[in-house]
Symmetry: C2
């Protein structure tokens, strides 16, 4: 039973009259149809409905249910997204001035947590796969860093990645625990893990101390809803709860919480069956797409060497071989011509999120559209002409046809650019110091060697290319300008300019370090 | 036009298929009826729907509309409640180690901001009115403090209070500006101000630099929705925006934002008419309640001396004279017998929130219930017997009847306790220092003289009685135990115990100061 949802529904049908917040008074007169029903569930902390920040009744039992489902010792409903959970988790595992060992491919909320709690950081660089995609974090690297840097207080990694690539949490947790350090897993994209053997196990059961799940990303729950799970004795739970009550509104939405309640119910009762159905639908889709010449579903084979991780069925990365189209172009065609809205366009692939709520009709539309686009860019010819030849066929045969059909295509050819793991940004000073210094706006082309004063990132997925305090190198600047040229939204790039520390300041600081 | 709401509704009716978050895919199969319609509006940052954290399209124009309506230079939609706005505003106006001059009756989110940003504080103590209610902040006191303490960086006050009492923002803003300091007004309970001459003007138009409005408290908008307005040049807007993007989820809910859009539409098109209607309904209600002997609507007359502020029609505080019932008892009777759910029970009054969405039927039910309760506790006799005598009638005549009807009534008589403004807690150390020190749980009765390690507050309204770093005095402990005995929820009191700094630590610290 979706206890909270059902109790709210029942309450709405009662004759209780609200002389309390919210101000709409569950009166549906002024609200549009699509909001009116939700207003009926939208109450405040009145008798019988508990208080999220001191749960003792129905919210306690609903949170206990989440803990049971995911195998955690304790779980918390989050209404400020995974963001609120990440900020709280970081505060709970590392004190001011402490050092956090974190994946470089973490979401910007992790960097925000590092800034707020004034931490030093050491980065784990995931391998870079084909198609410029971040891969897994290496357990070996975790162990090396923990050995080298005894001042590390905790480990935080993102798994699965935005593209569904899963690191070896069991091994990383075991290494972290050997050094007495808690492991926090930002499993925002893996809330559906652990409910079906065809999908990865969830981080809680693999031994992570804190795991954060965005319910809305891959499960049927409203945007902004998430869960935080905590287990073991390496995390100060009082501190965790303190931060959860600081970073989340004191008036949490019962509509969002009802949505969590309803989502847990679906997962518990129907999860396995729906995940099984999704798995089969995806297999069918992949089978159909095998006919394509240029369009390809990115899996271990396409992403090449070192892809040790496991992919998640819920993430469908569709790549385009040989720069036949950019990711942005494929994204636009799918949207404009076929009314299929993708989650994200990357340099040379697009990303679709598949969930247990997808319909067969929707999946069919996607397959048909991709097959049609592939034919239009010469995929059938390629397929016929390159049997056994694979990736190396020539790229010039029907450029004119493509241009005519889909507008200007980047002439530079294949836009894949694999960022070498060894090309890392030099850290000139900690984020919290740099972020509060005097800054100026400088043309990106003149920023080489300067220290960034802002976060620079693509959204989605919101993973920083540079963070405050890092020295901008030439390779990075070219990459940023390249993304912008491809039509991707680069946050932190303002009309071709980047915020850097005022000249002089950076020198002074760097010398001190 | 509620632009965002309507565009979302139209989009839902289109044939666009979502291969993106959220995971419910606007598929209503698994959701209960009351959530299903909202799921239809629940999208993510796809093309045409802008990005709250870098608004350039529809969210920019919707925020501009909010700014126009309230008279601000710039306004921001908030989806983590006023909480997210408060934490951000504090970060924008005061740097680490700076001093904030704040109302002692501020909401705990303000104290949380002080903790996170590591500020020193000086308090403004509002006058204490009859019925133990916090009154206005005195402009004179603001001026004195600013003169005495030149290290104050900004002023932050709450107006209206939870009970609707409004301070003189125009004068306080003008004083703050004379000293070159920004004024932040937590006007969470005043989002309906400034749209009708029968209600107070809003803080933006009275000169405050930052004003935060909870839309859901008194307007028809969903819980967790709020606005932050900024004007003038005393606030660092880049810093403000930085913190807004830190303290709010990177996946803001389009349902919450659609609700804001719809709310602004109602206010713009129907605001005056509905506020006028509410004003008349309240006048009618007060007229009817004049028949009561013990039950009384608290206004300037009942709250006595020094009530310089203006009351807000949206807050109806219903007091009980002579301790005839406690606030909690009246609250319970209204809820259990009449199915009228109040916002809050205080020591000797209850608080109802009235809004433009209240129905006449609801207001009538309240009037009838209060009249009936008043008769049951002997109000008619009192009224007949005490004409011209008012507050001083004897209190013993029908105690047995009352006890029989409503259970045990506190024998101590009148439970009003007016906390003298001069009884203030001694600050042993700043919040951010105390909150991270070693602590122990000690029986409240043995806490006198010890330094609090936690926030102690009633919720609602969430205004601290003690904060970390303050020395607990006897008067305060008696008050805390009193509230608990009255059946009010005292956060920070755990089974009669309070968290205090470990003995010894506090001494050491206090001596240093």
């Amino acid at each position: 039973m979706a206890e909270l949802y059902e109790r709210l529904e029942k309450y709405e049908e009662s004759d209780y009259y609200p002389f309390h917040m919210p101000g709409h008074k569950r009166n549906k007169d002024m609200a549009g149809k699509a909001l009116a029903e939700a207003y009926g569930l939208d109450i405040t902390e009145i008798d019988g409905f508990d208080n999220l920040h001191q749960a003792e009744g129905i919210l306690k039992s609903e949170q206990e249910r989440a803990a049971r489902l995911y195998g955690a010792e304790k779980s918390y409903f989050l209404v400020n997204g995974s963001t609120g959970g990440i900020l709280s988790a970081i505060g709970a595992v590392a004190d001011k001035g402490g050092r956090l060992l974190m994946g470089r491919n973490c979401h910007k909320s992790v960097y925000h947590g590092v800034y707020l709690h004034e931490l030093e950081v050491s980065y784990l660089y995931p391998e870079i796969l084909g198609y410029d995609m971040a891969g897994t974090v290496s357990p070996k690297e975790v162990e090396e860093k923990l050995k080298e840097q005894p001042d590390i207080r905790a480990v935080l990694i993102t798994s699965p990645t935005y593209e569904g690539i899963v690191s070896d949490i069991r091994q990383i947790a075991s290494i972290a625990h050997r050094y007495g350090k808690p492991l926090v897993v930002d499993e925002a994209h893996g809330a559906h893990f652990g409910f079906h053997s065809g999908y990865p196990e969830n981080g809680v059961r693999l031994g992570a101390d804190i795991v954060i799940h965005s319910l809305h990303k891959t499960l049927p729950s409203m945007t902004q809803t998430a869960l935080l799970h905590v287990s073991g004795n390496l995390v100060d739970r009082r501190k965790l709860e303190r931060y959860l009550s600081i970073f989340q509104t004191s008036s949490p939405s019962y509509v969002l919480m009802a949505s969590i309640s309803s989502c847990l119910e679906t997962v518990e009762k129907e999860g396995w069956r729906l995940l099984e159905k999704l798995k089969r639908n995806r297999e069918k889709l992949e089978e159909k797409l095998k006919e394509c010449g240029y369009i390809t579903v990115l899996g271990p084979e396409q992403l090449k060497g070192g892809f040790a991780g496991r992919g998640d069925i819920c993430k469908l990365a569709v790549g385009i071989k040989e720069g036949r189209l950019t990711g942005r172009q494929l994204y636009d065609i799918l949207r404009q011509k076929y009314h299929l809205q993708m989650e994200m366009a990357a340099g040379n692939y697009v990303l679709a999120i598949l969930t247990i709520m997808d319909t067969e009709e929707g999946m069919d539309r996607l397959a048909k559209a991709l097959l049609e686009i592939d034919r239009a860019i010469g995929g059938a010819d390629k397929k016929a002409g390159s049997l056994g030849n694979g990736e190396n066929a020539a790229n010039n045969e029907d450029g004119d046809v493509r241009k005519e059909k889909y507008g200007r295509i980047r002439e530079e050819g294949n836009i894949q650019r694999i960022r070498k793991p060894e090309v890392v940004n030099e850290i000139a000073m900690p984020i919290y110091r740099a972020y509060n210094k005097e800054q100026e706006l400088v043309s990106a082309m003149e920023c080489c060697g300067r220290v960034s004063a802002e976060f620079i990132y693509l959204y989605p997925p919101g993973i920083p290319l540079a963070v405050p305090g890092e020295r901008l190198n030439n390779g990075l600047i070219v990459q940023i300008m390249d993304y912008a040229a491809m039509g991707l939204t680069v946050h932190g790039l303002e009309d071709g300019h980047i915020r850097v520390l005022t000249s002089g300041l950076e020198m002074e600081e760097t010398e001190k370090i």
